[in-house]
C-alpha cells in the first residue's frame, strides 16, 4: 500500500516537475515578462508535444494523457500571468493544497465540529460501512478471478498448443521451444477420460492425464501440491517403494476422499495412508475397423492396475476431484496401443519472466509452424488447425462474466450506498443551521462566503477521508481474516459458508484489491464532499445581519 502511494506521489511530482520546470524557466528566468497570447499558445503546443515524447519514452500507460492537458493549461496561465514567481508559487501551493481555507480558524472549526458534533460520527460510520462493504465485495471477486486465472496457469502452464490430432515426435518440438529465450520450459501431455475403481463399489469418472513428471513440474510447479513429494529434494516421479516402473499414479485428493461435510477439510492422515494402495483404471482404447458404415470404432476395455504413489492437493476442487496423472508413455500404450511413436495431444509451455503474451504467442506459433512443416510434413491448413492459446484466453469468457457480475453487484451496492450523500447532506444542514451564529461571526469579521463554503466542503471531505480510511482498514481486517471469520461462523451456525465444491477453491481469497479500494475510497470522499456542498452554499449565502439581529 505504502509503495503504491509513494509511486503515485512520485509520478505526480515527476509529471508536474518535468511539465512546469521549462515553463517557469522561460517565463521568470529567460523572458521575465508575461508573454502574448500567440506565443503562449505556441509554446504550450511545443512543450505538450515534447512532454508527450518524454513520457512515452518513460513508459506511460495513459491513453488520454489528461495530465499533460492540465499541465498545458497551467503553463498557459504561467506564460500569461503578471504575478511574481513568489506570489505565483505561493498561490499554486495554496490552491493545490488548501484553497486558501486552511487557516487556524478553519482548523479550529473542523476539530470542534468533529469533536463536539457527535452526529458527524454517524456520517463517518455510514461511509465506513459502505466503503468496507464495497471493498470486501470487490476484493472477494477479484481474488476469485485471480485464483481462477492462476489455477489454469498452475494446471497447464502459460500457453498451450492443441494440435488437431495427436503429435508424434513431440520431443523435438519441446527442444525447439526451449531454445527460445521467451520460453522457460515446455512439456507434452496426453489426456483422456476414464473410470477408476477405488474400492468395493466405489467407482468414479476421472480425467486421466499422461505427463512427464519432472518436465510437467517445470511448467506448472505441481510439486508444491504433492502431499508426499512436496518436501522432498529429489525430482518429481511416479516411483515409490517397490512400485514397478511405469505403474505409479498420482491421484487428486478428491478422487480418493471426500472433504468433511461440515468443515470441508480433508483428512490428510487418511490420505497419506492411501499412498501405496492399488487402484484399477478403465479407459476406452479405440481402434477403427471397417464395418457397415465405413469406420466402426471398436472400444476395447483397457483395465490396468496402478499404485498410488502420491496424492495431489491443488485447492482447486474440480481438479482435485477428477484428476489422475499417469506416465505419458503408459497412458499412450493404453489409449493407442497400435501407435509406435510417443504421442501427445497438447504441449504446455511456461514463459520466461516478464515476457508479454503477444510476443510469446507469435514466437510459439512460428516455432509450431516450422516444426509441423519440417518434422511432420503437415500442410498449411493442418498447421493452422492447431489451437494455440494462453491459459488466460481459455478462461476469458468466464472471467468476463464474473467481472460483469461483480460490476452489477458493485453497482447495486453503490446505488444503495449513495444514500450516504443524503445522510451527509442532512448532517451538515443540521450543523449549518445550528451553528448559524458561528457563520455570522466569521462573516462579520471579514470571512468570504467562498472560504466559508470551503470550510464545510472540506469538513465533508474530512468525514469522507476518515470514513474511507476506517472502511479500508475494516475491509482489510475482514478480507485478511476471511477464513478465520468463516471458521467462526461455521462453528456458531453449524454450516460451512464457503465450500470448495461450490466456489471451486478450498480457501477464500484473502488479497485486498487495492486498486478498487482506492477507487471506492476516492468516490466515498467525493460523495461525502458532495453531500456537504449544498449546506456549505447555504452557509456561504447567509447574511450576518439576518442572524445576529436581536429579534
Amino acid at each position: 500500500m505504502l509503495l503504491i502511494i509513494l509511486s503515485m506521489m512520485f509520478s505526480i511530482f515527476l509529471t508536474w516537475f518535468i511539465g512546469l520546470l521549462p515553463v517557469i524557466s522561460i517565463r521568470y528566468i529567460l523572458i521575465r515578462r508575461p508573454l502574448s497570447k500567440k506565443s503562449s499558445k505556441l509554446l504550450v503546443c511545443v512543450f505538450w508535444a515534447i512532454n508527450l515524447l518524454i513520457f512515452s519514452a518513460l513508459g506511460t500507460k495513459s491513453r488520454t494523457h489528461i495530465a499533460l492537458y492540465v499541465v498545458g493549461l497551467v503553463s498557459y496561465f504561467i506564460y500569461r500571468t503578471d504575478r511574481s514567481m513568489k506570489v505565483l508559487l505561493s498561490d499554486i501551493f495554496f490552491v493545490i493544497c488548501f484553497w486558501k481555507s486552511l487557516n487556524h480558524l478553519s482548523l479550529f472549526l473542523w476539530l470542534r465540529y468533529l469533536r463536539k458534533k457527535k452526529i458527524v460520527l454517524l456520517g463517518i460510520t455510514a461511509v465506513t460501512l459502505s466503503c468496507a462493504l464495497l471493498i470486501v465485495v470487490s476484493s472477494l471477486f477479484n481474488g476469485f478471478i485471480s485464483a481462477f486465472e492462476r489455477s489454469a496457469v498452475e494446471a497447464i502452464g502459460d500457453i498451450v498448443i492443441y494440435p488437431p490430432v495427436e503429435v508424434s515426435g513431440y520431443s523435438q518440438l519441446i527442444e525447439r521451444l526451449e531454445q527460445s529465450k521467451l520460453v522457460e520450459g515446455a512439456t507434452a501431455a496426453l489426456s483422456s477420460e476414464g473410470l477408476v475403481h477405488l474400492s468395493k463399489g466405489n467407482v468414479r469418472a476421472v480425467s486421466v492425464w499422461g505427463i512427464e513428471p519432472e518436465r510437467h513440474n517445470r511448467v506448472t510447479g505441481f510439486k508444491q501440491s504433492l502431499i508426499r513429494q512436496k518436501s522432498s529434494e529429489s525430482k518429481v516421479s511416479f516411483e515409490y517403494g517397490g512400485v514397478e516402473k511405469g505403474m505409479g499414479a498420482i491421484v487428486g485428493i478428491g478422487v480418493v476422499q471426500k472433504p468433511d461435510e461440515k468443515t470441508d477439510e480433508y483428512d490428510f492422515k487418511a490420505v497419506r495412508n492411501i499412498i501405496g494402495s492399488d487402484v484399477v483404471l478403465t479407459t476406452g482404447s479405440v481402434s477403427f475397423q471397417n464395418g457397415d458404415d465405413n469406420k466402426t470404432p471398436e472400444i476395447r476395455r483397457r483395465t490396468v492396475k496402478f499404485t498410488v504413489t502420491d496424492v495431489i492437493f491443488t485447492g482447486v476442487y474440480d481438479l482435485d476431484k477428477n484428476i489422475i496423472y499417469l506416465p505419458i508413455k503408459r497412458l499412450q500404450g493404453l489409449l493407442y496401443p497400435d501407435d509406435k511413436e510417443p504421442a501427445a495431444d497438447q504441449i504446455q509451455i511456461k514463459l520466461a519472466g516478464n515476457v508479454k503474451d503477444d510476443a510469446a504467442m507469435k514466437e510459439v506459433s512460428n516455432i509450431w509452424a516450422s516444426f509441423a512443416k519440417e518434422e511432420l510434413g503437415w500442410s498449411q491448413l493442418q498447421i493452422k488447425q492447431a489451437v494455440i492459446v494462453t491459459s488466460k484466453q481459455m478462461q476469458s469468457k468466464f472471467v468476463a462474466e464474473i467481472r460483469k457480475q461483480m460490476g452489477i453487484l458493485l453497482l447495486i451496492f453503490g446505488v444503495v450506498s449513495s444514500s450516504v450523500v443524503v445522510l451527509i447532506f442532512c448532517i451538515f444542514y443540521m450543523i449549518v443551521e445550528s451553528r448559524q451564529r458561528d457563520v455570522a461571526v466569521i462573516k462579520s469579521f471579514g470571512g468570504s462566503g467562498f472560504s466559508l463554503a470551503f470550510v464545510f466542503v472540506w469538513l465533508g471531505g474530512i468525514v469522507g477521508i476518515i470514513g474511507a480510511g476506517l472502511g479500508m482498514l475494516l475491509a482489510y481486517i475482514i478480507v485478511k481474516n476471511f477464513n478465520i471469520i468463516e471458521g467462526w461462523l461455521s462453528a456458531v451456525f453449524g454450516f460451512k459458508l464457503w465450500k470448495s465444491s461450490v466456489y471451486m477453491f478450498s480457501r477464500i481469497p484473502t488479497d485486498v484489491d487495492w486498486h478498487s479500494a482506492g477507487m471506492i475510497a476516492f468516490f466515498s470522499i467525493l460523495a461525502a464532499a458532495a453531500g456537504a456542498l449544498l449546506p456549505a452554499i447555504v452557509a456561504a449565502r447567509s447574511q450576518p445581519v439576518d442572524i445576529l439581529r436581536y429579534e
Binding site: 462493504l133 473410470l195 476406452g284 470404432p297 446505488v415 444514500s419 444542514y429
Partner: protein, 449 residues
C-alpha cells in the same frame, strides 16, 4: 386526532422528510428487484430439482445399487398415498461419438420412460416425444436401433440468448457407451475378459432439464439396457434408486415418513437374503434432502445477499435518525405547546412514531411500485440492452438461465415493506424519545422564542 394530522402535516410541509422518504424508496426498490430476481432463481432451481427426482427418493449412492426392489415397488404402488414409483439406475460411463477417438465421462441414467415421466418432469423435458414418451428411446430414422436421450448440451449448441436450434427430427448419431460392470460385492465383473460392457445407442431425443450438470453430462438409457451395461442384471436384478411421487394432498414429510417405515419393515422382513446387505445402504429422503447439496449453495447466496442489504440498510436508519432529529429540534416549540396543554411524553412519542410509520409505509409502497414496474419490463429492458449494446445480465451461453425471474412474491414483498417500516421506526426512536422528554419550561422560555 392530532396524532394523525400532525404526522401528515410534517410529512408534506417539512421538505427534509422527503429525503428520508426518497432513501426508503430507493432502498426498497433495489431490495425488491434484487431479492425478487434472486428468489425467482432459487425457486426455479428448486422446482427443476423437484421435477428431476419426484417427491421422494429411496436409494443408495453406491454404484452397486440394491436388489429386491421390484417387490417393494409393487408394495408402494398399492398404497393410496403413492401416485407413481419408478426405478432409476445412475452410474458412470464413457461415451464415444461414432467415428471419433475421443471419449468422455458421462452419467448413465437408466429409466423406464413411462413410469419415470409419470413421477418426474421428464415428459416435459424431452423435445421430439413430448406426447409420446413411451417411444422416447425409438429413433425416428430407424425404429429398430436402440435409442438414447442425451442431455441437450451434449448434442446441441446453446447460443448467446440461451436458445438451441434443434433440427426437425433427430439426426443419425451413434454413441458408443461403455460402463464398468460391478458385482453385488462391488468388485469388477468380467475382469478377465478384456471387453468392456459397450453398446452403441442412437440419438432418439434430447432432454433439457435446466440442470446444468444433467444437461451437459448425462445420458438417459432404457432401464433394462442400463442394468446390463452396469452389470446390475445378475445374479439379482438391482437398481440405484426408486423415485416416488405422492398423491396430491400428501405432505412431503408425511409421505416420506410412511415410505421410511415401510422400507425398514421390508428390510427386516427380508434379512438373510443373498446380497441383502445392500439394502442396509439404502436411505429414504425427500427431494429436498436428496438435492440439498445443490440447493443449499444458492440458498446460502440468497442469505448472504440479505445480510449485505441489512448492512447497507443501516445507512437508511441513520438518515431517518438525522431527519427526525432535525424535525424534533425544529419542532421543539410545538412539543412545548402540546405538553403545556396536557399531552404526555407518550403522546409525543406516538406522534413521531406515526410519522416514522408514514415515511416507512409510503417509501415502501412507492419503492415496491417502482420495483414492480421495473421487474415487469426487466426482460424487455435486457432484450433492448442486448440488441443495442450486447449487454446481458447473464451470458446465456454460460448459464442455464432462461428469462430473468420477475414474479413478485407477496410474502417477500410484505417482509421487505415491514423491514422498511421497522427501519424507519428504529431510526426515529431516539429523536422521538428525546422530543418526548422535553419539558415546556425548556422549550417555551423567552430566549428560545
Amino acid at each position: 386526532m392530532y396524532k394523525f394530522i400532525l404526522p401528515f402535516r410534517y410529512m408534506f410541509k417539512k421538505r427534509i422528510s422527503y429525503l428520508a422518504l426518497l432513501t426508503v424508496v430507493l432502498c426498497v426498490f433495489i431490495v425488491v428487484v434484487v431479492m425478487t430476481v434472486m428468489a425467482g432463481l432459487v425457486e426455479d432451481f428448486k422446482q427443476k430439482n423437484h421435477s428431476f427426482v419426484g417427491d421422494c427418493v429411496l436409494g443408495t449412492e453406491s454404484l452397486v445399487g440394491f436388489g429386491y426392489y421390484e417387490d417393494f415397488m409393487r408394495e408402494l404402488a398399492s398404497r393410496e398415498f403413492v401416485q407413481s414409483v419408478t426405478p432409476v439406475i445412475r452410474s458412470y460411463g464413457l461415451i464415444n461419438v461414432k467415428g471419433s477417438r475421443q471419449s468422455r465421462g458421462v452419467e448413465i441414467i437408466g429409466i423406464e420412460p413411462v413410469g419415470y415421466s409419470r413421477t418426474t418432469g421428464f415428459g416435459e423435458d424431452v423435445y421430439y416425444h413430448r406426447r409420446d414418451v413411451a417411444n422416447v428411446f425409438v429413433p425416428s430414422y430407424n425404429p429398430e436401433l436402440p435409442g438414447c436421450v442425451p442431455g441437450i448440451d451434449l448434442v446441441l449448441e446453446r447460443n448467446s440468448r440461451g436458445e438451441y436450434s434443434p433440427p426437425d427430427s433427430p439426426w443419425r448419431l451413434g454413441l458408443a457407451i461403455s460402463s464398468f460392470p460391478l458385482t453385488p460385492k462391488g468388485a469388477l465383473s468380467k475382469a478377465g475378459l478384456g471387453l468392456v460392457n459397450t453398446r452403441t445407442f442412437y440419438y432418439s431425443d434430447h432432454s433439457r432439464s435446466g440442470l446444468a450438470t444433467i444437461d451437459s453430462s448425462a445420458v438417459f438409457l432404457p432401464f433394462d439396457e442400463s442394468q446390463k451395461l452396469c452389470g446390475m442384471d445378475r445374479p439379482i436384478k438391482r437398481t440405484s434408486f426408486l423415485y416416488i411421487k405422492f398423491q396430491e394432498g400428501t405432505g412431503l414429510s408425511e409421505g416420506c415418513g410412511k415410505v421410511r417405515s415401510m422400507w425398514s419393515k421390508y428390510v427386516s422382513a427380508g434379512s438373510g437374503r443373498p446380497a441383502g446387505y445392500l439394502l442396509e445402504t439404502v436411505a429414504v429422503q425427500s427431494w429436498k434432502q436428496n438435492r440439498r447439496s445443490f440447493i443449499a449453495a444458492m440458498e446460502k447466496e440468497q442469505t448472504i445477499m440479505t445480510m449485505m442489504f441489512i448492512l447497507v440498510g443501516i445507512t437508511t436508519v441513520f438518515i431517518v435518525f438525522v431527519v427526525f432529529y432535525m424535525i424534533v429540534s425544529h419542532k421543539s416549540k410545538d412539543i412545548g405547546i402540546f405538553k403545556s396543554v396536557g399531552a404526555s411524553g407518550g403522546d409525543i412519542l406516538q406522534i413521531y412514531s406515526i410519522f416514522a410509520f408514514f415515511v416507512g409505509f409510503l417509501g415502501s409502497v412507492f419503492g415496491s411500485l417502482f420495483g414492480w414496474l421495473f421487474l415487469r419490463y426487466i426482460n424487455d429492458i435486457e432484450a433492448w440492452l442486448y440488441g443495442r449494446f450486447g449487454f446481458q445480465l447473464w451470458d446465456r451461453s454460460i448459464y442455464a438461465i432462461g428469462e430473468i425471474p420477475n414474479r413478485l412474491e407477496s410474502g417477500l414483498l410484505l417482509v421487505i415493506m415491514a423491514s422498511a417500516i421497522f427501519a424507519c421506526l428504529l431510526g426515529a426512536y431516539l429523536p422521538s424519545r428525546k422530543g418526548s422528554k422535553l419539558r415546556p419550561v425548556q422549550t417555551l422560555q423567552v430566549n428560545q422564542l
